[in-house]
Amino acid sequence: MQRRELLKLLAAAPLAGAAGQLIAAPAAEGAKLLVVFLRGAYDCANLLVPTASDFYYASRPNIAIARPGQPNGALPLDSNWGLHPALAQSVMPLFQQKQASFIAFAGTDDLTRSHFETQDSIELGQALDKRRDYRSGFLNRLAGVLGGGPITDVSPIAFTDQLPIALRGDAKAANMALAGNARSGIDARQSQIIASMYRSTPLAQRVTEGFQVRDEVMRAVQAEMDAASRNAMSAKGFELVARRMAVLMRDRFDLGFVDVGGWDTHVGQGAATGYLANRFEELGRGVAGFAEEMGEDAWRQTVVVVISEFGRTFRENGNRGTDHGHGTVYWVLGGGLSAEAGGRIVGEQQVLTQATLFQNRDYPVLNEYRAVFGGLFRRMYGLSPAQLGRVFEGVAPRELRLV
């Protein structure tokens, strides 16, 4: 306890100097961060619906989400924005409890509009005008910085088959996909024997860690099955993965990454119902399930950020879908969001008209992702400017007072 208080003080000190006022630093050692990457550039304009914009309704004659109060209408968030109705049971309650927030006009300055280029550049978190260094992702650099101070023995994990670019780098990071039944063909005795073959090799730690993560996943699965036998139904799809992630992050990991695909909606994306609505519903259930499974105490110290490589065209295309755009909307969720963020739409915003579109086509990016993450990390972990500079070199953090 004493050590923890000391760490808080140490963490707060540089912040007080930088900001010129003393801000109570959160207890960084218990802080948890999960980054959810929606690969394929989701249509943010139908997630966070600009309900005050006539231009929105003119631009999307077939796929717009109706105004609040109308049948299948958006869920009202404030006078300008509404939420896709597929999130009524999941994210909307979190928003009302001030545990969810959206950053409109977020994204990257990368203008390739290539999924892969932009996904990579976001995960790397490096300056766009310099040669990419694929060995160094921004979450790994964050882990490196945290391990040197606020969180001793930081433990990052990607809930994916391969270690994603965001978590590549010098800091050790585990990875394990959580979909499927997670049954292993290798039993405990065999695992122990295999681990013994590696005990004197450089791979020993990773082999042991792989088995440990697998065992914890299997325990989580067992808990699900026990619960299912009492409750009738268990979660499916991304919600299942998300609940498993929560168990693992609550008990063991500080820093998580997961990706969710299927957002590239050039054709027939639907409106209040349909393809994209189903994806939103699944994602929303996952996020809410994650929060529930974390439990109140851990959730209070947790921040979930949902990002995507870019947004989509503001106008619908000839196939009732949307094409590659620019600015997007990030989600920020957590049990300990600040009063300035929880239940609000945050960040710099613009009135939406044809004149304010970027290249007469997309949302502009007014809240650059590295600056936004930098600001979040400063508040979550009490990082100094030097430490932030190691995560995002040469980027001034943007203070959105998210936590």
Binding site: L163, R168, S196, M197
Partner: protein
């Protein structure tokens, strides 16, 4: 020579022995290697694990009989050699073997257009789906063909180099209709040049629709420049980053490459080219150089003007890129990373680069310098197997030359470990270093796959996924001469683990999961 090779193929079963021992390939210059390496069975196994897709009993016997120096000479200068008939028959039955690329793609384009034209939405959806499924099926054929050759081709180094260059000149299945193109790309652009001249290889990739579509050069036209291919051509294919080119060179090379594209029109449908440059029009299969789209203005690349005109500008540019010292170093280093170490010794790279330059970019000559080096010998057994290597080596060791009837389980294993064939999205190709493939989750998956091969490998020998598995369903690994020879080199910890196996399936699993089998 070629004629004799074909004769061998025709009467493969009878003539195989004669072909492999006859005078046909005696002209390949032997490699100079130390006699210890040549004589020691343990060392020969290590060479096989590095030079082939994995040591097995038949390659071990062939190497022992031929001698390392001559065997390596033949690997470096491969002659046409037959696959086992059961493997060749599978390849011969494939659409990609029976249909020329232009015919295939023109037919598919017609199918797509017909689907789009259907008035009924449900019918349209079904027809579009059928088109997509056909593309996927063609890509799967290419993957299957690759696996069959990697498992059974006597020209193992050529097969490894085919994978290496496919990765170096990466294209990705998910873009456009590359699923229909990738088999031909591998077969006609990459494999024939895998051990030949780098310039020929580079030129073949530039002329292939798979590359032109993947890196968007098919969209590159005068005044509507697309720099994508030009940049990667210098950064990833030749000079390497920091290889002495500037942003201005990227733009100039992009101008050189304007008009270099793809046509899916019937071969006799010549576009209306303005008279002054009509003679410059080129059409070869799907490849098209369209002078209407070419920027004929003067250009300077890497400090020198481009003298040629039309498509010949591209040849002049490629010649210049290939002869740049940076290219010799970049290619040599990448080969050394693949065949020696994640951080290859600079002295070795220097010697290879000198061989590359001396031979005007001859790949076999460059590799000869690598294989003859003490650094190579010292590195044996240390290089971490990437997923493709891991699966190939496990199956080769387990089943030797018994031909698989269904390689789909292998493709699935490779996919599970994150290295699907032709599946890398970005043009940089898969990483070749240990860090990319030795994560905690990957190791765990590998042990599951070790078990899949070791305890349930018979899935490869049933033609139908639902057919019952033969008994026993696992390979007799412990009875293999190769495994017996290998056991001497296993660590005490590994031998202790093997001694704890309760049954042959478990023994196989432990062996394939061992640290020694993770490396080549």
């Amino acid at each position: 020579m070629l004629h004799l090779g074909r004769l061998c193929m025709v009467s493969a079963a009878m003539a195989l022995a004669a072909c492999t021992t006859g005078s046909l390939r005696s002209d390949a210059p032997p490699l100079s290697v130390s006699s210890t390496a040549a004589d020691s069975p343990a060392a020969q196994l290590q060479w096989l694990d590095r030079v082939t897709w994995g040591a097995n009993a038949s390659s071990q016997a062939e190497l022992a009989k031929t001698g390392l120096a001559r065997w390596m000479g033949r690997q470096l200068k491969p002659q046409p050699q037959p696959l086992p008939p059961a493997a060749q028959a599978q390849i011969d039955a494939m659409t990609i073997s029976r249909t020329p690329l232009d015919q295939l793609v023109i037919g598919l384009d017609a199918q797509r257009k017909a689907a789009d034209a259907l008035p009924d939405e449900d019918q349209k959806k079904a027809a579009r789906q059928a088109y997509q499924q056909e593309l996927t099926r063609l890509a799967r054929e290419a993957q299957q063909r690759f696996v069959l050759r990697a498992l059974y081709s006597p020209n193992q180094l050529q097969e490894q180099m085919t994978w290496f260059w496919m990765n170096h000149f990466n294209v990705n299945l998910r873009k456009d209709n590359i699923r229909a193109l990738v088999g031909d790309y591998e077969e006609n652009a990459i494999r024939p040049h895998a051990l030949g001249r780098f310039r020929d290889l580079l030129g073949a990739t530039l002329h292939h629709p798979a590359m032109l579509r993947y890196l968007d050069n098919a969209q590159n036209a005068a005044n509507r420049i697309n720099e994508n291919y030009a940049r990667e051509l210098m950064e990833l294919h030749t000079l390497g980053v920091g290889g002495g080119y500037s942003q201005a060179d990227v733009q100039e090379l992009a101008r050189v490459l304007t008009g270099v594209g793809v046509s899916a029109q019937p071969a006799d449908a010549v576009p209306n080219v303005r008279p002054a440059v009509r003679a410059d029009y080129v059409r070869q299969g799907l490849f098209e150089f369209n002078p209407n789209r070419h920027d004929y203005g003067p250009k300077t690349l890497l400090g020198q003007p481009i003298q040629a005109r039309g498509l010949a500008e591209a040849d002049e540019a490629l010649d210049r890129l290939v002869r740049a010292p940076a290219t010799a170093r970049f290619i040599s280093r990448k080969l050394a990373v693949y065949f020696v170490a994640d951080e290859p010794p600079p002295a070795l790279v220097d010697r290879m680069a000198a061989a590359f330059t001396r031979s005007d970019g001859d790949i076999a000559t460059t590799l000869k310098a690598l294989f003859e080096s003490p650094e190579f010998a010292a590195s044996l057994g240390r290089k971490f197997r990437d997923p493709v290597h891991y699966v190939m080596a496990g199956v080769r060791l387990a089943y030797d030359d018994r031909v698989a009837l269904n390689v789909n389980p292998m493709l699935n294993w490779i996919n599970r470990m994150g290295e699907p064939l032709y599946g890398h999205e970005t043009p940089d190709g898969y990483p070749l270093n240990e860090a990319a493939w030795a994560s905690a989750g990957q190791m765990n998956t590998r042990f599951e796959i070790a078990r899949a091969i070791g305890a349930n490998g018979a899935v490869l020998f049933r033609a139908d996924d639902k057919a019952p598995l033969e008994k026993p369903a696992f390979p007799p690994l412990a009875e293999s001469n190769t495994v017996r020879a290998m056991q001497l080199g296993l660590s005490a910890d590994t031998r202790e683990a093997l001694a704890q196996a309760k049954n042959p399936q478990e023994w196989n699993t432990f062996l394939l999961a061992s640290p020694e089998l993770m490396r080549r």
